[in-house]
Symmetry: C2
Subunit: 395 residues, 2 copies
């Protein structure tokens, strides 16, 4: 009999490939020197938090208020919830109060809180592939079933596939725009059509089908691209996000859930989210960070480095013969691998000291993910390798 | 059809009593003035963090290191894990390495991570009553079943009841010393006997029965009392704790799991804990606080206020005729109510502007909990009320 549960034991044995990759990366860095290895495997922002956040933290810590590291209501500090609601009202064009916001331990915490609150055993969560692999765990944690539908060739939402995938067990449709791993940003027209589908399907099946929008990359978009309002697209929308990417606070675990005030029984839903935040052991979002981000609403890191990296890598990949849609946001590229076996291809890149992640890890076999939230040196150093590999496969 | 899951809906409707109490407290404070209401309902430490912690935070924030707010390994910063392991080696008298520690989002997060890692559906977690009500939720979150056994009249472990309660489904015995809500501290002799029982029962049922020790109050003990080593008492022990009480950081959500290196397949258990920390959406313990507490190992707030409060309340209650064991630790008293109906008695105290929690909320009907982590004014102001109530019931 194993020392751990069957489910965790099973997940651990499946995980061994990713761990092997990670160990292989460390081996290569030890062998060749870390500066000779071009590591695009992790989505850990390499930018420091903006000066406003650093100043807010300094001010809080140098001028402490009594109780500022203690418990507050499980939903978060009232002033933080109010600041978030005021900002969202402007961003989304839908009026929210602090009561519609629950501060959480990052977006990962927020998603678990939402699933705990909404899912009965066997309820389905429909989400497009390629997508963030953690979603499968988050849904399974709360006895739900994660169902995947394909996207289009440019990684846009396949609305017919979503409509066909919805059935009497569907409780949530989960989207992520700008997307990890593809960088796709869904348009207002697409989201409006999705809203129409969900409205019709909710009527058809006689239950509220929620749209859950995971938006940690909302502020990481390039050029004139804007991420449209998700609360305007559909009344039964729940928005989750974090400050991990826009304020480069990934390790601090600070984010929130916001609920469209139009959701039926919205007070019950909010009470459920607050209870779930407590009983899942999060209890509340970290207190100091709640106070800091309240002062930094709408701010973000300078994303010019990410845009530079995207442009260089995209142009190089296209010129080298790769097939890849130009991503409008996030800091990921998701090119088609030149051979069917993405795992083998990722191994070939690793031999040339370029580390990326196989698309199979995101429900997108035959592709690979480049996380370009890296220094210019890493990006520049990798370009000759992509050119060389392109020459080999595409001539 | 409800807008939330059946389970959350059910928990919310059961919760309404506690919410009503909370609202009643707010109503009384608004009516009579907050300084006229003596609120012992919440275990939120009223002491500020010690100067060492405040200085460490200041130093970190005023002299930021690159990446210090970013992701680190899911288990935590290696230097933090090593610092915790070195401290625990001394505290517990058992040698641990950083590899035996996973940093978590408080003790609440730690307990959920442990249950996710260990429990198969239907596995039982045995824990004494009265106890911390959240345990029931934490076990249920991960498809386990929480089974309660009684304690002795002085709230010590009832070892026969524990032995009788263990069966083939028992996976974990969960204890909490110093205890919430009773303040009891278990002796080394009692823990050694508990270890003997768990060893024998593990053999009898052919599976590892873990001892899970939840110790956030370990450093809150009075006089010459010491909390004995739990890792020495039993080899299959997992220790969880937080810095919420000893460093007064309850809102910051920083704690850890430490595993006895003697646990079978300890590397598998650690890998499972790290995976669970990730997939439950915690991802990692808040990064800045990890760096701060690494510099504050073994420190604690000055607990002389708590000791003063305990002594005054205990003496007053005893003199007034109440039955209550003198607690050695934590900041709780758990007296017997003078009438059987603890909820009614708590209502009577509230009319006299003293707010406490009915024992029913801790699986201890007929008792009530006083959380004395309050200012001297609150404690002093409550004493005449307890004297008056004592006179009424005990003459």
């Amino acid at each position: 009999m194993s020392s751990v549960s069957q489910k965790i034991g099973g997940s651990l044995s499946k995980q061994s490939f990713i761990r092997k990759m990670f160990e292989e990366g460390n081996r290569l860095k030890a062998l060749h020197g870390a500066d000779k290895v071009f590591d695009f495997s992790l989505g850990n922002p390499n930018l420091e938090p903006p000066e406003e956040l650093v100043s807010a933290l300094r001010d809080l810590v140098n001028n402490p208020m009594p109780g500022m590291h203690g418990y507050m209501p499980n939903a978060g500090y009232p002033q933080t919830r109010a600041a978030v609601a005021a900002y969202l009202t402007e961003e989304q064009g839908v009026e929210l109060q602090g009561d519609h916001v629950v501060m959480t331990v990052g977006a990962g915490g927020a998603l678990n809180v939402v699933f705990k609150t909404l899912l009965d055993p066997g309820d389905e969560v429909l989400t497009p592939n390629p997508g963030f692999v953690e979603y499968n765990f988050y849904v399974d944690n709360h006895s739900g079933v994660c169902v995947h539908v394909p996207t289009t060739s440019t990684f846009d939402l396949d609305l017919d596939a979503i409509a066909d995938g919805i059935n009497a067990k569907t409780r949530v449709v989960l989207i992520n725009s700008p997307n990890n791993p593809t960088g796709a940003v869904y348009s207002a027209e697409t989201l409006a059509k999705l809203g129409d589908i969900l409205r019709a399907k909710s009527r058809e099946f006689g239950r509220t089908i929620y749209l859950l929008s995971d938006e940690p990359y909302r502020k990481i978009v390039y050029g004139a691209v804007e991420v449209p309002s998700i609360l305007q697209a559909y009344e039964n929308t729940i928005l989750v996000t974090s400050y991990s990417k826009d304020l480069s606070l990934a390790g601090e675990r600070i984010g929130y859930v916001a609920v469209n005030p139009a959701v039926p029984e919205v007070d019950l839903v909010m009470a459920g989210l607050i209870l779930s935040n407590r009983i899942l052991g999060f209890v509340n979002a970290p207190s100091l960070m709640q106070l800091a981000i309240a002062r930094c609403q709408g701010m973000r890191v300078d994303i010019s480095l990410y845009e530079r990296n995207r442009d260089l890598l995209y142009t190089t990949l296209i010129e080298a013969g790769f097939t890849v849609p130009r991503p409008d946001g996030a800091f990921y590229l998701f090119p088609k691998a030149p051979i069917e076996d993405d795992v083998a291809f990722v191994g070939e890149l690793a031999e040339k000291l370029v580390l990326v992640v196989p698309g199979s890890g995101f429900g997108g076999p035959g592709y690979f993910r480049i996380a370009y939230c890296q220094s210019p040196e890493v990006v520049d150093g990798s370009l000759p390798v992509f050119r060389e590999i392109g020459k080999k496969y595409f001539g």
